[in-house]
Assembly symmetry: C2
Homo-oligomer: 390 residues x 2
């Protein structure tokens, strides 16, 4: 169950022929209402793909009736013709569903610098809209088909759901993350809810949820040109919705999807949680965790099951966070290998054979905390990302 | 020829037994005068090794009579005892050479988090000072022995020399760089000259030279805790020295050493020069080049001989530099693969089989330029840095 778990949504995933593998590569999620409120966050990369440029305009009024997503091509660095492809895709969806093209979000993922085949896209949209009008398009199989259609090198589709005691539901699907995509690490996420929330409420909830979930997943430090996280509300369950409760449930869905992205990161052999505690501010904690998550030396050490805490401290030392370098403690998988900037328990005690690795960094500078999720740097990562296309 | 190319210097490199390989692991470079002026720059990492903490104090008065360097141990995160080891090493050098310990720089490189064996260090210093008093200690063999004694995983010693028409000489030796050192990427550089310059002049020249050479070598984005670049002047050639000419010669020596470090970066199969042109400011050009040099996706692509210009633009897009994303051109090894943010010449035309790779990024935003040197991300990099110690 994912984007169709909430009432008021239909989904479809079809084979448009954009992927050479012949697998599903085009999805549509339709909001059947009664509401059509929405919010979205996009990559902060300044070199944005055409669908992002389009969708930033669509989301401006907070109204979205459908979202169309394709794998098999990012439509990025494809110029005016590429933008026209995005525009015509939205127009085709709009005609078929009898909605406004200005209410259709578009997402693309895959190889960049290549034009998408507009004819294939249009035919795919036609098939998908037929599927949307078929029985079961609001059911779990349709949701799963959509989740499959947005996969690139993902090994598994990614879905998550939370149901509130009040009666509303929030669900979602995701693809990609960091090293996952040889194309460029694109993360696409569609979240749906039947709670009767307006676009401002959705925007507030979405920004809070992504700030502590997707924004703290940093698999390989590379930022995509296509990242999009969209949240659509149908209002089909007309119960009073507490925004804090909704935000908490949405955050849980995002957290589950982020963890699934981390776990499926191609080439990775460890899922690493870098927990920074007793920071002066949350920003400090995030900066320290992110710096460690971007140290290739640290990530290669974890691949080699080497609890190399010196590489942790060296990465911490490159940040502006507040700390005394000689007061920092580091524990790896529960073993306190560094105490106050000096060797603590013997590193031989650390067991890094499990996939899950936990690095705990105590800055002794305050009370804030944050956890960054990352992966190790492996031979398979290098292989996946060098044996690419062209 | 390296640190002994300039008149007024003696050098020694001996086996102290710190390295398990039994190779040379302790070096001393002595300034025989008549001047003892010096300058140094150190890592900006806030988690600094003990020898850096010591040497920052020594350099404060601009007077240095000798520098002692060891491989086989970084003496970093070793607390008060580690600082005492550094202090006693300097004291031992001072006693033996009849100079002040406060005029002895100390550098260390190797595994971090382990105490150095002070007895071995002291015995090594004794041997090295004997060698300094032997015939030939001011000759090329002695310089080479010192250059060998500071190697960790370096495949070759690194030396460079420039001789001015005016009669003065500047030479140097270096070890390490980025992925080179499984220990932590430490770069140690000793530069010597017989030009009669004071410490302020040396400091000015050294900062200008390192800013455009070592500071633009970014092999794997990881910053060491031990990096030190020291410049000593003996004044043994008493000719009038033009500071601009000296700075230019010093920059050439530093450039040669930086290129040798890049070429010897372990695991690397490409030496990549990222040249950013027509930037609004030099800082912009450096920021753009550095961002590309730190993209694992870009670096893995180059390893795979894949001219993936989309990954270049995606890295450019994460910076604050001034540019229009749809005006950027990218050429790889002379082929204009991207023109104004769209595909240019076919990527199949690019030949990435040579070790040297050149990425030219035209921002069309001004007239400033900068080149960052980096390496590709390879299986051997992962292997070297995961199969490490412990």
């Amino acid at each position: 169950m994912s984007v169709t778990a909430a009432s008021g949504f239909a989904a479809a995933g079809v084979v448009a022929g954009l992927k050479s593998s012949g697998k599903r590569d085009l999805a549509i999620v339709q909001n059947l209402g009664p509401l059509a409120s929405a919010a979205a966050v996009f990559t902060t990369n300044r070199c944005k793909a055409n669908p992002v440029l389009w969708s930033e305009q669509v989301i401006a009024d907070g109204v979205v009736s459908a979202i169309v997503l394709n794998s098999g091509g990012a439509n990025c660095y494809t110029g005016a013709r590429g933008f026209q492809t995005t525009h015509e895709t939205a127009e085709t969806v709009a005609e078929r569903l009898e909605i406004s093209a200005g209410d259709v979000l578009v997402c693309s993922t895959g190889l960049i610098g290549d034009q998408l085949d507009l004819d294939l896209l249009k035919a795919g949209v036609w098939d998908a809209t037929l599927a949307l009008q078929s029985a079961g398009s609001d059911g779990p199989d349709a949701g799963l088909a959509a989740a499959e259609a947005i996969m690139t090198t993902d090994a598994k589709p990614k879905e998550a759901v939370q149901v509130s005691p009040a009666g509303w539901t929030v669900g979602g699907m995701a693809k990609g993350a960091g090293m996952l995509a040889p194309g460029l690490a694109t993360m696409l996420v569609v979240l749906t809810t039947d709670a009767p929330l307006d676009s401002e409420q959705l925007d507030s909830a979405l920004r809070q949820a992504t700030r502590v979930t997707f924004d703290r997943l940093d698999s390989d430090g590379c930022m995509s040109t296509n990242d999009t996280v969209a949240l659509l509300a149908s209002g089909a369950i007309g119960v009073n919705t507490d925004l804090d409760e909704f935000t908490a449930a949405l955050t849980e869905v995002c957290r589950s999807l982020a963890e699934q992205l981390q776990a499926d990161a191609e080439g990775a052999s460890h899922d690493i949680a870098i927990e920074v505690v007793n920071a002066r501010t949350e920003d400090d904690a995030v900066a320290v965790g992110r710096s460690v998550s971007r140290s290739n030396l640290f990530k290669a050490a974890i691949f080699g099951n080497d609890p190399n805490w010196g590489r942790v401290l060296a990465a911490v030392g490159t940040t502006d966070a507040e700390f005394d370098p000689y007061a920092i403690d580091v524990a790896i998988n529960g073993v306190q290998v560094c105490v106050a900037g000096e060797p603590g328990q013997p590193r031989e005690l650390v067991d890094l054979t499990p996939r899950a690795a936990h690095v705990l960094i105590d800055l002794h500078a305050g009370e804030a905390t944050a956890t960054i999720l990352t992966n190790d740097l492996t031979h398979d990562y290098v292989h996946e990302n060098s044996a690419y296309a062209s």
